[in-house]
């Protein structure tokens, strides 16, 4: 039972990170139909920005995350303008390929600029809390609460603000939204900005319990894709549920089945879901 609870907490912490990263990816897909394979690279850059804000400029952790989100939002807009905007009418294969180009550039660029060594991100939340015989790292609690906060903020933004509603409108009905006269360009840039900022927050939250290095986004990249496909491309609740589902599946399959299996499980699950429901769990009208 203790093991179960401990792993449950671990799974929830991991799931919050997955969900945050997946949210950004699914937003871009839902609004722009772009499967952004470079998302993991944006995530990695986000971690580096926070790292340097912390270590080189001594900016407090929480503020550093904010700065990182802002910087990444800008990078997101630049990527959208330079790469995806010119391709807006191209077939989907072109988006995928262009995204791979961006991925190459960001990842190798990070290596060239900052070297390939592992870096440790200091966080003020280093202690371990002991509740009911469970040992929980403070940073993990920070990850969980901050993620919930960010998700709530995103929800509020999409539902209650005008710019947010325009994003949602396009996501739900593209032709309808364009009829109403929504400026697609603005929405497009805004979506990329939010997506990259979410990736930055996710990376900055998880970095203190892991490390910062140029290929840190690689492993996550495939996983978040599995998540958003699982949840249904473009579905926000799908991304959140999918993120937690994958994390818990990984943690518990390694606990109760086999460890070698846990990495494959996400993908096997994904394949099974898609084989049964070709457009994912939460998609509207398969």
């Amino acid at each position: 039972m203790e093991l179960f609870l401990q792993q449950l907490i671990n799974g929830i912490a991991l799931g919050s990170v997955y969900s945050l990263a997946a949210l950004g990816l699914t937003l871009v897909f839902g609004v722009l139909r772009i499967p952004n394979l470079a998302h993991g690279a944006l995530y990695m850059i986000g971690a580096y920005v926070t790292y340097f804000a912390l270590t080189s400029y001594g900016i407090p952790y929480i503020v550093a995350i904010g700065i990182s989100a802002a910087v990444l939002a800008l990078i997101g807009v630049i990527v959208e303008r330079l790469v995806f905007h010119p391709l807006r009418n191209a077939p989907h294969t072109h988006h995928l390929i262009a995204a791979v180009g961006v991925l190459f550039f960001l990842q190798s660029g990070a290596q060239v600029l900052w070297g390939s060594e592992f870096r440790e991100m200091p966080s003020p939340f280093t202690g371990v809390i002991n509740i009911f015989g469970l040992n929980i790292g403070q940073q993990r609690l920070v990850v969980i609460f901050a993620s919930i906060l960010v998700m709530a903020a995103l929800y509020w933004f999409l539902k209650k603000t005008v710019p947010g509603q325009t994003i949602e409108a396009i996501e739900q009905d593209r032709t309808g939204a364009s009829l109403v006269g929504i400026d697609a360009n603005r929405v497009s840039m805004m979506t990329f900005a939010i997506s990259a900022a979410l990736a930055a927050v996710a990376a900055s939250l998880v970095a203190p319990i892991n490390l910062v290095f140029p290929t840190m986004g690689e492993a996550l990249n495939l996983k978040v894709f599995a998540i958003i496909i699982l949840g249904g491309l473009g579905s926000i609740p799908g991304a959140i549920v999918g993120g937690f589902a994958l994390a818990l599946a990984e943690v518990f399959s390694s606990t109760y089945v086999s460890n070698a299996f846990s990495e494959a499980i996400g993908f096997l699950f994904l394949l099974v879901v898609l084989a049964v429901r070709p457009t994912g769990l939460f998609s509207k009208g398969a």
């Binding site: 203790e2 093991l3 401990q6 792993q7 671990n10 799974g11 912490a13 991991l14 990170v17 190798s108 290596q111 070297g115 390939s116 060594e117 592992f118 440790e120 371990v128 040992n135 790292g137 993990r140 998880v206 319990i209 892991n210 490390l211 290095f213 140029p214 290929t215 690689e218 492993a219 996550l220 990984e250 943690v251 390694s254 606990t255 460890n259 070698a260 846990s262 990495e263």
Partner: protein
């Protein structure tokens, strides 16, 4: 229809314009390719050297210089570079001719086929007679070409004894065989902490082999091996899950290891979750590097390879100082740097004795006598005292057991 017809016409003109723009752009792209290619030709190249020393001897290197394993690849290269700098400064004469050593390094992204292609290139384009490769996949691939297709001496930096089993006549295995660590590592931790062993190693090829060997040895010495909770250290986001899982079986000792930094995280997580036993640390992880990522206390009770900086060889101290001065102030030289540094010195001496810079056979035959000729100042860590039939730079090896923040020496018996 008039309107749509007009639109069509305009569309076509636009199309034409676009085409023109594309055609205009294409020479630019070609030029970019060309520039890239030319720039590439002059890059890479030599390291150190006064430049006036007669014939140039190219030493080949193919290793991961980009991607996740690039730090490791760079460390190995640094060792060779430092040795070459020594040699060029000292001035080496081979067969009566002064020579200058240069290093041609190529990136293989840790891929075996790239390593083999690079090795061919180094031999054929750069006339390298010796090629260093620091990963077993690349070594195996190179072994399939170095004896018959292109002759070169393979400087194999991998502690995997399987590279000796190929009976390749032109392989020089550089580091100590990892299987020799098993007995003292297992014995020490079992005596100290108890007889159940939990496993959280990295899931690389190397990790797998270590895991098999540790498991076998632990069981041989009468201990109990618990379930394997290994995860790929390169792709894991959070180690809490596997650590919780491993600790739930209440092990006395944990087997961990992969790159140093993630290994430190695993150890920290285990201590954070209340683990008080010992660690067997795979030789890929360096205790001295781990110290920078977790507190010293956490590392107490670990057995692992001897940190180069703690080594007592004659040249170690100077070497560490030079590394800080010439290579990096932030990083400390790890054993990869040292082993390859020594190996390069052995190779140079073997060339001197063979009176040849380009006959891999002759160089190979002179490795054994060359070992004794290497000056003490170039000995920095577990310097070999012999060269085995199978092609291993063997010798007495000292590992370490960390006790109360002290690195105590641990003799590693050498049975081949």
């Amino acid at each position: 229809m008039r309107v749509s017809g007009l639109g069509e016409t305009m569309g076509k003109e636009k199309g034409m314009w676009k085409l023109r723009r594309k055609l205009a752009l294409s020479p630019l792209i070609l030029a970019a390719f060309f520039l890239a290619a030319c720039g590439g030709g002059s890059g890479g190249g030599g390291e150190g050297g006064s430049g006036d020393g007669g014939e140039v001897v190219n030493i080949g290197y193919s290793g991961p210089l980009s991607g996740g394993a690039s730090l490791y690849g760079e460390n190995v290269l640094e060792g060779i570079q430092m040795a070459v700098a020594d040699l060029n400064e000292e001035g080496v004469e081979i067969d009566g001719q002064p020579v200058t050593f240069e290093i041609s390094s190529l990136d293989d992204r840790y891929l075996p086929n790239e390593a083999a292609t690079n090795a061919q290139r180094l031999v054929q384009q750069e006339d390298a007679a010796v090629v260093f490769i620091p990963h077993s996949g690349g070594i195996f691939a190179a072994q399939s070409i170095n004896a018959d297709r292109n002759e070169f001496l393979l400087g194999a930096y991998s502690s995997d004894p399987a590279i000796l089993e190929q009976e390749n006549p032109l392989t020089m295995m550089i580091p100590p065989r990892f299987d020799n660590y098993m007995e003292p590592f297992v014995g020490t931790t079992m005596d100290e902490f108890g007889d159940s062993l939990g496993l959280i190693p990295t899931e690389s090829e190397y990790g797998q082999e270590w895991t098999d060997q540790v498991t076998e040895e632990w069981e041989n010495q009468g201990g109990e091996v618990l379930s394997n909770n290994g995860v790929d250290y390169a792709t894991t986001t959070d180690y809490a899950g596997p650590v919780t899982q491993a600790l739930s079986e209440d092990p006395d000792v944990l087997f961990v290891g992969g790159p140093s930094q993630p290994t430190a995280l695993v150890i920290e997580e285990a201590r954070g979750q209340g683990f008080e036993g010992g660690f067997i640390v795979m030789d890929q992880a360096k205790v001295e590097e781990m110290e920078e990522f977790t507190s010293e206390e956490n590392i107490n009770g670990s057995v692992g390879v001897m940190p180069l900086i703690e080594s007592t060889e004659a040249g170690t101290e100077d070497f560490v100082a030079r590394y800080e001065e010439e290579i990096s102030e932030d990083r400390i030289p790890v054993s990869e740097v040292g082993y390859n540094y020594q190996a390069m010195h052995v190779v140079a001496k073997a060339m001197e004795l063979a009176d040849s810079t380009d006959d891999p056979q002759a160089i190979r035959e002179n490795i054994e006598p060359a070992i004794a000729e290497v000056e003490d100042e170039y000995k920095v860590i577990n310097f070999p005292d012999g060269f085995t039939e199978e092609g291993h730079l063997a010798g007495p090896v000292v590992a370490t057991f960390v006790e109360d923040g002290e690195y105590t020496e641990l003799e590693v018996p050498q049975e081949q």
